[in-house]
Each structure stands twice: as structure tokens, then as C-alpha cells.
Amino acid sequence: MRSGQDLELVHLTKRYGDTVAVRDVNYVFHNGTYVCLLGPSGCGKSTTLRMIAGHESVSDGSIVLDGLDIAHLPPAKRGTAMMFQSYALFPHLSVRDNVAFSLRMRGVDKPSRHKAADEMLELVHMTSFAQRLPAQLSGGQQQRVALARALVTKPRVLLLDEPLSALDPFLRIKVRAELKRLQRELGITFIHVTHGQDEALALADEIVVMNNAVIEQAGAARDVWNAPKTEFVARFMGGHNVISLDGAKVALRADEVVLGDHGLSATVTSVEYQGAHVAMTSMTEAGEEVLALVPESTFYANPKNPGDAVSLAWDEGRAHRLQA
């Protein structure tokens, strides 16, 4: 489903001296999708985002938006806007002036830029705080202001650099829903960098998993979760076991492991009650750890203790082979 309005990375590369931060990345961000760049720290996801934003020079390759190579344009000319991890609100300006900043830089007159800023503040439900200084706002409120500031220029693509990492867990879930709502209302592309797989799964239409400067796997959130291609993806997404079967590595979802009479024999090493599930870790004879997420009622119908021998089974076809 390509359209002329997609954002495309073509052989995008970033080198710092001899080290390669991003190696020959090719990807198409479809217009109007919510994409999460996911990976451990140092994997190149932030560098990729900053190259798209224009805050990091491109060593090689192009960034194409609307059929135009924007790789060498200044940030404000690209049709992208960035929301910074620390929000980067100007501490000496009121909330309204922060949001209106980019319009002021363009020479928009005061009444129209204040009107545009107020519209954005309404979108993020911050109208009543327009006169305040950033220091007088909570973390969540600052984040909304940063969002309004990024959106006021009507960007085609919004770039979010770990936007939720500075919030407490409770707020994080609230803001997460807010981001998704905004993206749906505005219908623009959101590219969101995160190292939290739960965040990525909750938000993303598409997930791009990066590791060691390259894309390990990309696709719809469900596809990536259900069919991790490599051991790295399976482990990083969590909830999967990686075990050796018939000389090949396979990934097996922890919630699809059942305790049966036949199957892979193993010894229970730990049992953890997690509410809806019981997380039971066991060690196979090959010395591989297997996590089983067993529904609570099923587990307590036939409880196991550390040291017990168990047989681990799963439906045929549920374990799938990983690329070496």
C-alpha cells in the first residue's frame, strides 16, 4: 500500500569515525501509521530518528518524504517535528509562547500565532495553563505542551524520542492512550523511539526492531510478536522461550507451554505467582531455561514446587524456527 506521501529511508547510514551507528537501513514508513522504533540502548534507533529530524547529519543514503530527498534540509524545512525526551521547553517562555515559538520565528503576527497556539493547547487539554511557565507544570503537563509545540507547525511526520521515559508508570499508561488518540485524530505519521516492548506493542501499528545498527525485523505489531524471526527479537520482545530442537533454535511463546504427561522433561526451578498467571521456570535436560505462563486456576489444580519434575508440551506448529 504505497502512496506518494510515505516517508522512506534509503540506504541510510551514519558513521562516527570508524564506528557505524546506523548501517544501510531501508524502510518505508506508510503515511498515517504509528511506528515504534524498538531496541536496546545503542542500537541506532535514536540516531535514526535524529537523522530523520535533521539533528544529526546523514553519512550516506537518503530520507525521502513526499518524493523529495529531505536528508540535507534544515529541520524546520522537512515537514517533520520532533518531541524531545526531556521535552526541551523554553524555561523563560510561558506555555502559550512555547507553543507559538516556531510561528514567531517565521514572523507570524502575535494575534494569529496566539490563536494557533491556543488551538493546539485545546487539542492537548492544556488551555487553562497557557499563562504558566514550564517550571510550574507537572511532568505529564510539560509533555502535553511539548506535544502541542511540535504539532503547531502541522508536521507531516511527528518524531518522538522516548517520550514516556520521564514519566512515572501510572502516568505513562495514561499518556500512551493520549498519544494514540492524537495520532488517530490527526492522521499523520508518528515515529516513536522506545526501548520498552510493552509500550511498542500497545501503541504501534508497525514495529521496527533494531539491533547493532541494523533492522532485525519489521512488521505489524502482531506479526512481530507472534513470529519473531531471530533469537534477538524473540528475547527482546519478551514472553518467548528460545530453545534448541532438532539442532535448530526455535521460539516458543511462554503462554503456550502447557504442563502435560508427555513432552520435554524438565525440573522446576522457580514458581512466581503473578495474578492471572503463574510464571513457572524450569530447566530442561539440555540445560535450557523454559518459562511457562500457566493460567492461575490450571496451575493450582495441580501445583508444582521447585525441584519437581515436569513434562513441557505445546501444540504442534506453535514452536517456530528462528534464523540462525
Partner: protein, 284 residues
């Protein structure tokens, strides 16, 4: 317990309080008291008289000298600010490596390893009639004869002031600038600000407290100075400090005290006005 902590607090604050009372408050009170005394060529008469102040405010010399003092302060301020801001900006934003930053910053302080007087006097052979500056200008054919205004003039006085006091501008401005989050600069760029707009809309407003502290340093130093003006003007120019020092040399302590009181009040008023514009508390 609460009372105990009260006593502890007072005890902890008392050494500094005593020092300030003994070495700042008492001397100032003494100066104020002496400023109301009378004096003749050979005696000082304790008393309470407005004679010194009447003389001070009645003399046109006072106004001229105060004007000259303000002129030195204003020009020196403008130049130290321009140089100080530029140097601090370069150190804070163009030097990425922190080690280099600190090394260059220390380099700025090296001139302070020699005394003020020596640094001042070393200008004299440079700027003199047959000094390096004049002979160079002539050998390059820029001038035909030695420039008279290079030394013993307002020019040389201000040159020395700027040389001596620029660092007092650099340090507080640099200190404020290093606290500016670099992502703010990026955010400004992301919002379409040009380099100059970033400077005027983001960096300058956020550096104001540092500028203000530097301003206070420079203004008080220049307005209270007497030795630089004396050396660099060859005793041909005057400021308030020289007025006081001359009085003291003539043992006219009451008159010197009165001038000092007026100078103190003037400087305090200037600083008071400045502080109305910028809040420096968060920098302290």
C-alpha cells in the same frame, strides 16, 4: 529540641555575622559618622555638620567627576559585555569537549597570575609616544606621526579597564551558559529558529542572570577604582575614586568620607535599578 536547633543555627551563622559586622558594617558606620565632621588644613573636628556635603554638591567639579565615572563605567560595561559574551558563548557552545573547555577557561585566567598594577603598567611602553603601537603604525604607513591619544587619555583608561575586568564578565556568563540544556538549542532549530534567532530568543534571555552578575562586578569595580585612572591617564583624568584618594592624601578625611558615602549610595541605586530587571537569585 526545637530550641536547641535554634541555638545551633545562630551559632553557625555567628562567625560570618561577626566578621561582616566588624569589617563591613562598623567601617561603613564610621565613614558615615566621619562624613559629618569638620576639618581644617591641620585639624579634624568631630561634630555634626553638613559642611562637607554642601561643599560636595555645591561644586561643579563633583558633577563633572561623577559624570566621568559613569562614562568610564558605561563604556567599560558595554565592551566587557560584548567581549565576555562572545568568549563565553564560544567556550560554552562551540567547544564540545569538556576537557578543552576547562583548559581554555583556565587559559583566560592566566593574566590574573600577575598583579593588576603590573598588567596596567605594561601597557605604558606599548602605547607610549615611541611605543610599539605607534612605531608599528608608522612603519606600516598608517600614520605619519605618533598618535597622542593612545596613552594618558580616556582611551588608555578604558583599554586598561576592559583588559582588567573582562574576565569578571566571562565567568558568570559562562557559568550560566553551561547550564543551558543543549536540547533547547536543538528544539529552537527544530522550530525553525535561525542561528541568530536562537541567540536572541533562547540563549540571551537564559543568560540574563549571568550578564547581570557580571554587570554588577564590572560596575562596582570600575566605579570604585582610582589607581587605574591615575596610572593610565597620567594623572590627567579624574573619577570619584581619585577625588577620595586626593582628599585622603591631604588628610581631609571628613570630606573623603562624604564623597565615599555619596559614591556608595550612587552605586547601590544603580544596582538596585538593575536588580529590578533581572532576578539573579536562582544563580546564587
Amino acid at each position: 529540641m526545637l530550641k536547641n536547633r535554634h541555638i545551633q543555627g545562630w551559632l553557625q551563622a555567628s562567625p560570618l555575622t561577626l566578621i561582616l559586622i566588624g569589617f563591613l558594617i562598623l567601617p561603613i558606620i564610621t565613614i558615615v559618622v566621619v562624613s559629618f565632621w569638620q576639618a581644617t588644613e591641620f585639624s579634624i573636628i568631630p561634630g555634626f555638620s553638613f559642611e562637607n556635603y554642601e561643599f560636595l554638591f555645591g561644586s561643579p567639579v563633583t558633577y563633572k567627576v561623577f559624570f566621568a565615572t559613569f562614562k568610564y563605567a558605561a563604556i567599560t560595561w558595554a565592551m566587557t559585555l560584548a567581549i565576555g559574551f562572545t568568549v563565553a558563548y564560544y567556550l560554552a557552545f562551540h567547544i564540545q569537549n569538556q576537557t578543552t573547555q576547562i583548559a581554555l577557561f583556565l587559559l583566560c585566567t592566566i593574566p590574573f597570575w600577575t598583579s593588576n598594577i603590573i598588567r596596567m603598567i605594561s601597557w605604558i611602553p606599548f602605547l607610549g609616544r615611541n611605543g610599539i603601537a605607534n612605531s608599528m603604525l608608522q612603519s606600516w604607513g598608517i600614520t605619519d606621526q605618533p598618535l597622542e591619544w593612545l596613552l594618558y587619555s580616556d582611551f588608555s583608561v578604558i583599554l586598561a579597564f576592559v583588559h582588567l575586568y573582562t574576565l569578571f564578565m566571562v565567568v558568570p556568563i559562562f557559568n550560566t551558559m553551561t547550564r543551558i540544556d543543549h536540547s533547547l538549542i536543538e528544539a529552537a532549530r527544530d522550530n525553525g529558529a535561525s542561528g541568530f534567532q536562537t541567540l536572541t530568543h533562547v540563549i540571551l534571555p537564559l543568560t540574563k542572570p549571568g550578564i547581570m552578575i557580571g554587570t554588577i562586578f564590572v560596575l562596582t569595580l570600575v566605579m570604585g577604582d582610582f589607581i587605574t585612572v591615575r596610572f593610565m591617564s597620567g594623572s590627567q583624568k579624574a573619577n570619584v575614586g581619585r577625588l577620595i584618594s586626593n582628599d585622603i592624601a591631604l588628610l581631609q578625611y571628613p570630606s573623603a568620607a562624604a564623597t565615599a558615602v555619596i559614591l556608595l549610595i550612587t552605586v547601590l541605586i544603580v544596582i538596585g535599578i538593575l536588580l529590578r530587571f533581572v532576578d539573579i537569585r536562582k544563580e546564587l
